[in-house]
């Protein structure tokens, strides 16, 4: 695979590798994604907008330049407390894993981030992973983030990303720390086409977290806990799909994580509400809700890749890797896609009852 270096959400030559439930592989233009859908399917996407989560500034005690990357929070409404990664001098042109370290951080250290002022509440079991508290009113914090923050950048995209590069067409509440990039495939014309074919489209709002910390010790903890909200309309669609045996198709790993988290908590049901996803999906996970996933073409070893192991076995994944590599699929946020149906032997478990949601 090769890195997608241009921040174009829907390049005309984008492709999708398709794997059906029997493990058969084919290739299509990604613009034909809607043709993969069937009546009674429910398509669920993450409508989170992306926060400008990269904040440059100064560590007050030492006067040294730092970059903060907001990485998590306990709820979608929280605006004062964030978990955050801290980097030293430099910028995104240096790969994250090669970035210089920040000064030694201590509880109570003050950080000056443009108009924003913050304090290190404590270290989160790592010298550059902190709980950050912003000062000021919610209005001041929102303005500070909106005006001073920049989207988290990627070393493989040489042109700096603007905020609008990171918002999917359906972006709503600004709660994600990196874009829910599987949703780049969507546009309003596709949604109208889906609607005209009586295929239901719903959303969740999931605070997609950072994809890389630059530190192997922290990377193994990815994805961090992520708050999400399932609205009533989406819960009803899923309930109807479960009753009618329609497929539930997740646009992106965050949707799969959220729906399966709720199903694990509620024994196969998906009631509406806000929750905190804490689990990791992988080869040993039993999928209860999601029948198929549209995701990026991820590299082996990433947390996104691990999640795909819940859908297909390792032999199939190896064949997928081979196809992606030999056909020069593009990886990362602005790259090509894969569409995986859950392996046929993994039948969807029935919900406890049909009375919920």
């Amino acid at each position: 695979m090769i890195a997608a270096r241009l921040p174009v959400q829907r390049p005309s030559n984008a492709r999708v590798l398709i794997v059906d439930g029997e493990g058969n592989i084919e290739h299509k233009a990604r613009s034909e994604f809607a043709e993969l859908l069937r009546p009674d399917d429910v398509v669920v996407a993450n409508d989170a907008a992306t926060l400008p989560a990269s904040l440059f500034g100064q560590h007050s005690r030492t006067g040294r330049r730092i970059e903060i990357r907001l990485a998590g929070r306990d709820s979608l409404d929280e605006i004062r407390y964030f978990s955050a990664l801290v980097f030293g001098e430099g910028d995104f042109h240096t790969p994250t894993e090669n970035r210089s370290k920040p000064p030694a951080l201590k509880r109570g250290d003050r950080l000056e981030l443009g108009r924003l002022r913050g304090t290190v509440v404590r270290l989160l079991n790592h010298p550059r992973f902190i709980l950050l508290q912003f000062e000021g009113s919610p209005q001041e914090i929102w303005e500070g983030l909106a005006r001073h923050g920049r989207p988290i950048q990627y070393a493989h995209v040489p042109t700096p990303l603007a905020v609008w590069d990171t918002w999917t067409p359906i972006a709503g509440r600004p709660v994600a720390f990196e874009p829910p990039s599987a949703g780049f495939v969507l546009d309003w014309s596709m949604l109208a086409s889906i609607s005209a074919r009586k295929i239901r489209f719903g959303t969740i709002t999931h605070a997609a977290g950072v994809s890389s910390t630059g530190d192997p010790e922290l990377d193994v903890l990815l994805p961090f806990p992520e708050p999400y909200r399932i609205p009533r309309s989406t819960a009803l669609m899923i309930k109807h799909a479960q009753a009618s045996r329609g497929r539930i198709i997740a646009i992106g790993t965050t949707v799969a994580r959220a729906l399966e988290h709720t199903a694990a908590v509620f024994d196969g049901l998906v009631p509406f509400g806000e929750r905190l996803a804490t689990q990791r999906l992988g080869a040993s996970s039993r999928l209860r809700i999601v029948d198929a996933i549209l995701s990026g073409a991820h590299e082996r070893g990433s947390s996104h890749y691990e999640l795909l192991r819940a859908f297909v076995d390792d032999e199939t994944l190896s064949r997928i890797d081979h196809e992606l590599n030999t056909r020069d699929y593009r990886t990362h946020e602005f790259g090509d896609s894969v569409f995986l149906e859950r392996a046929a032997h993994q039948t969807r478990s029935a919900p406890r009852s049909s009375a919920a949601a």
Binding site: A49, P138, E143, A146, V163, W164, R173, A196
Partner: protein, 265 residues
């Protein structure tokens, strides 16, 4: 008060069929409705902020002047003030982020901020291109960009049967060719047609786009355009705000009635 296309009575939500009112005590359709108003520190915009707060809405207002935004928020602490210029492309996402972030979503967007064009009003032949560009940026491109940036939130609102209404504040100058109103009138005509097309295109998403002419009002904009106007003949902006709120309420009520029916059903 003129709605330039589709009477409110004809507005149906494609997701939630309209049903006849059955509730003896109708709900206030603005309760907890999340509303954003541009140009919210004077004239019709400020009156709308007051009116909708009174009706129980969660309101964010946008204006260019920090001093005036802070002044309004001091008077109306329940309002969320955002400093920004809708005519600037770079301001659109920061404005959107602050509004949707603070309100937790968006149900109603009122594109009210307007630029009159050159003052005093000029014949088109005497209008500087830059003045026309500025007017179009505020009155046409700004509402387009802001609506586009908020479309995900509005569509989510529609899916949750919360309403999803965009109001583009228009003028009779959008349909009548008044001499010397070329910049303003042509920008409002463009906005009117944009509203019509967008209303058609978004009907499948359940998002309504209305173009509403509130009539000649006693506002700073009107005073700049017609300095010697008889102010007693002009509509008070608070009256226009009440009428506009009633129109939006009628659309939102259809959503409320549908929810009631769903809950009963």
């Amino acid at each position: 008060m003129k709605i330039h296309h589709k009477s409110v009575d004809s507005i149906l939500s494609p997701l939630s069929p309209l049903v006849a009112p059955t509730d003896d005590q109708p709900r206030n359709p603005f309760t907890d409705t999340r509303v954003a108003i541009t140009g919210g520190t004077s004239g019709l915009g400020l009156s709308l902020v007051r009116e909708l707060l009174d009706r129980g809405a969660k309101v964010a207002l946008v204006a260019r002047s920090r001093d005036r935004v802070e002044c309004v928020v001091q008077e109306l602490p329940a309002a969320h003030g955002v400093v920004g210029d809708v005519s600037r492309k770079e301001d659109i996402h920061p404005i959107t982020m602050q509004i949707v972030g603070a309100l937790g979503g968006l149900d109603v967007l009122i594109n009210n901020a307007s630029d009159l064009g050159p003052i005093p009003l000029q014949l088109l032949g005497d209008t500087e291109c830059e003045d026309l560009e500025r007017t179009l940026a505020t009155n046409f491109l700004g509402p387009f960009r802001l609506t586009k940036a908020m479309l995900g939130s509005l569509a989510a609102s529609a899916r949750e049967c919360r309403g999803a209404v965009v109001v583009n504040v228009s003028s009779d100058a959008a349909v009548i060719a008044y001499p010397r109103w070329g910049s303003y009138g042509s920008s409002k005509a463009a906005l009117l047609h944009l509203s019509r097309i967008w209303d058609e295109e978004l009907s499948s998403e359940g998002v309504r786009v209305l173009s509403i002419d509130p009539g000649d009002m006693d506002t700073p904009l009107h005073a700049a355009a017609v300095p010697d106007a008889d102010r007693s003949s002009l509509k008070r902006p608070e009256v226009a705000a009440r009428e506009l709120a009633d129109t939006v309420a009628a659309v939102l009520s259809q959503r409320t009635e549908a929810i009631v029916q769903e809950e009963i059903g």
